[in-house]
Symmetry: C2
Subunit: 115 residues, 2 copies
Amino acid sequence: MPIHKEKPVLDCPFRETLDVLEGKWKFAIIHSLLHHGTLRFKNLERDVAGITSRMLIKELKLLQVHGIVLRRPYPTVPPTVEYSLTECGRSLEPVIEAIQAWGVQNRAALAAKIN
Amino acid sequence: MPIHKEKPVLDCPFRETLDVLEGKWKFAIIHSLLHHGTLRFKNLERDVAGITSRMLIKELKLLQVHGIVLRRPYPTVPPTVEYSLTECGRSLEPVIEAIQAWGVQNRAALAAKIN
DNA sequence: CCGCATCCAACAAGATACTG
DNA sequence: CAGTATCTTGTTGGATGCGG
């Protein structure tokens, strides 16, 4: 059990957003869900290259709590669970797109420097 | 000394960008430098609320290596060092702006839900 | 003032094996 | 398939002290 720790809770929308999206995987998860719409747990795990099921579960739970991800379990055998973005989650699209665009642009800039 | 570990180096501009910006402080540092243009080390440390000088140095070094931050030391006594964004660093402005915008919008959405 | 080094505790993340 | 449990490793970050 982690010790309770007072977070100063900066009154700053920028830092609040960073708190919600902190960690190594959240951007990648949101990116994948934006692209695919809805994914089952296993497919999401395959799409987010390198993640383990342990971390995926953890991150998905946090994203659920913040109202960014929606979890839909079906009472089938074997179990089926689908994950998708909420409307709030989809409103992160400009952020994801900006990161994607910078990645493409930056890669081009690096390639140009070599020549 | 950390053991050297092969990174699979995903051929994906999005994940490459995440690698460059990973960690707890890089977005906040870039945000501050975008806002202020140029800052001395001490002022940057004050502006990035909560960071320690140890972490600030670490993050700045990584950002330098990736060509995002420029370090300008002056041979004065006591020493003066100014940090600013390179052109490549300034090209991250859309990313920072998108995060900022989402923070503002999301805070408004949360406030609306309470009423 | 700027930056680095060391020791150390707390936590995040990885690997692996396992259950309903 | 979806999710858990446990063990191990790595990173974060505080405290402190030192050198240019």
